[in-house]
Symmetry: C2
Subunit: 367 residues, 2 copies
DNA sequence: TTGTATGCGTTATCAG
DNA sequence: CTGATAACGCATACAA
């Protein structure tokens, strides 16, 4: 049989080189290796370079598991999101991963699937994985928060983003939903609309409650009173929008504008209105919320609120890292409130507003 | 000063309970605890239940870091994707996370940002984090593959998805892009189109090359010869589609159909065609690739190919776990080829095809 | 400036 | 069935 070459680059299993290996090779102690690699102050420059060279030669990779176990602090961050689909959460995760990676952290991602029980299990898993901190956007069905007590009691930094806990003093990065709703509704009114309806989301979620409140504030500001008939509580899906719009258009005195707390719902509303021969925005103006990609593609394009997804991700990481680095500080919850941006588009623009500044360019993905 | 309560549920740092703590409490050895918790065969049933009860009482959480360090095998999987945006990658990641989590694994996610150097760093980070396996969809700029050698040489399972290495024997889960292009082009021809153009992507990427080949095969099959003028190589963005369509429509003999290797590009083409007053699909039929969410929303809706994102994620995890569990087997690369699904929509449907079966319902996201 | 010794929390290998 | 002990790879308090 043909003799096989020996000492060739082993194609099979190959145990990675450890600090002990380097120490043996150089005839020094592991301590020295450790110090050289972690740039400790008391280390000879020539020793240091010798170690670094050898490390490079053997392609030494530090074992972060061992390091984390020893130090009691890993370089892992945990994210819990309801799901990774649509535009919003992927974008936030994108921002988070980018910021975390820049800071030398890796990110473990979990989906709660909008299920509180799953969310609890996610927390357990992340604790078990010894992450250095957790970022979470609450599931839609989460109503009790005691699964987060363990996180706090361990002194683990915890930051909520977008969907946060209510009225508790927690770290959170959220959009100013109230303001978003306010400026959006105000814009509809400024277009001459008299009867602005509202497609509202589940009111136990702060984001939807705040959007509702912003809507109310705009009405109040304009001296208008609320017509209960023109507020519909839905799950914010596209079919919801279709159905509610059908009801509204059958009213003796239908609305002439709709502020939807979500883009999918706004889309449904717009589709149904046009199906029934109404002109958008002339007969009925429409605005959504979230700046989903499709809002630029519909006919007409849909006015919406940009949620600063990436900024949200970055801000979340920043807040978390501050807590992690500032180690043993007592516990001083902080909130970051992002300002929404109104993107005025065809679905609501009846007359040119005062010098509408050029809006941000549409983002185009490469498949 | 007011005396502080002692021994209250510590609101600050709280060191987690370890197996040693349980052992001390019960007056048994750590070994026993370990066996009880890991359901070892040689353990008394009453001892076992005692341990489990105590573990529950103290809310014991195993330290996976320590476990992984000792066993040399973690419960972490790594994903490397070009980016987490658009529809495709988030969906695949969704599928991956779901499947991995079901199998008791957590997932670390990295973005290469379409940058080969970043991709290499991602690999290093994942190795350092001691993941049990790596899933990767190659960056657009990756042309050399030696950064994956280290992965193999460590015996670490590696599975590519969607964007795989060329002509190497690797584990991969890919869509049958050739077939997708074939059935899509065939469909356009069956609608009576005579001059089918092709919006092609970067040909060093296998997915785009295969789509091009599928297009050619359909032409050949129909006895048509290739008109070089009707193939445009682009980066597959929406503006690319606009620009190329403008060129094509200026030809003395313009195409009457376009098969685009991507939806964004197809969208641009459709927009430009309509802007120039052409009817879609009557004057020019259009089909895309990827089943982006917006293809259901345009006017007309865009015919496209569904890439089975979630199945791809699941299949990737399945393949990876097989390799992980089958530990020391030599190295037998396997491929999973997913079948594409043609979704016939308004942009290409000139005449009813033979009993077009009802297609899968549109997926609606909740914001 | 370098080395020695110990421990992080778990599991595997031995004996009893 | 149970226990003592070593080891995984790294970092640090302490001594030299």
């Amino acid at each position: 049989m043909a003799p096989r070459k020996k000492n060739t680059a082993a194609p099979a299993t190959n145990t990675p080189v450890s600090m002990a290996d380097l120490a043996r090779e150089l005839g020094v102690s592991m301590t020295t290796i450790s110090r050289a690699l972690s740039d400790h102050y008391s280390i000879g420059p020539e020793m240091k370079s010798k170690v670094l060279k050898l490390a490079k030669k053997y392609n030494y990779q530090p074992n972060r598991l061992a390091s984390a176990l020893r130090k009691g602090k890993s370089k892992l961050l945990g994210i819990i999101v309801p799901y990774i689909e649509g535009r919003f959460f992927p974008s936030v995760v994108h921002g988070i991963e980018t910021a975390a990676s820049r800071a030398g952290y890796n990110v473990i991602i979990c989906q709660s699937n909008e299920d509180a029980a799953q969310e609890r299990r996610n927390v357990e898993a992340l604790l078990s994985a010894q992450v250095a901190g957790i970022m979470v956007s609450l599931s839609r069905t989460t109503t009790t928060y005691k699964h987060f007590d363990k996180v706090r009691s361990r002194g683990l930094p915890l930051v909520f983003f977008d969907r946060s806990m209510e009225g508790e003093d927690v770290n959170a990065v959220v959009l100013n939903d109230h303001e978003g709703a306010l400026i959006s509704t105000r814009h509809l009114l400024s277009q001459g609309c008299q009867r602005v309806a509202h497609l509202a989301g589940p009111q136990h979620m702060s984001i939807y409650k705040n959007r509702y409140q912003g809507y109310l504030a705009a009405l109040r500001e304009a001296g208008l009173s609320l017509d209960e008939e023109l507020v519909a509580y839905t799950d914010m899906t596209q079919p919801d929008g279709v159905e509610v719009m059908r009801r509204w258009l059958a009213l003796p005195n239908p609305p002439d504008a709709v502020f939807s707390a979500g883009d999918y719902c706004a889309l449904g509303a717009q589709q149904e209105a046009r199906r029934q021969g109404r002109r958008v925005p002339e007969d009925i103006a429409i605005s959504g919320f979230s700046n989903e990609a499709f809002t630029l593609i519909t006919e007409p394009t849909i006015t919406t609120i940009d949620q600063r997804c990436e900024e949200m991700g970055q801000a979340t990481v920043r807040l978390l890292l501050e807590q992690i680095e500032a180690d043993a500080t007592p516990f001083t919850p902080r909130q970051t409130i992002l300002r929404p941006e109104l993107l005025i588009r065809g679905s609501s623009l009846r007359q040119a507003e005062s010098a509408p500044a050029p809006r941000r360019a549409a983002k185009v993905f490469r498949p």
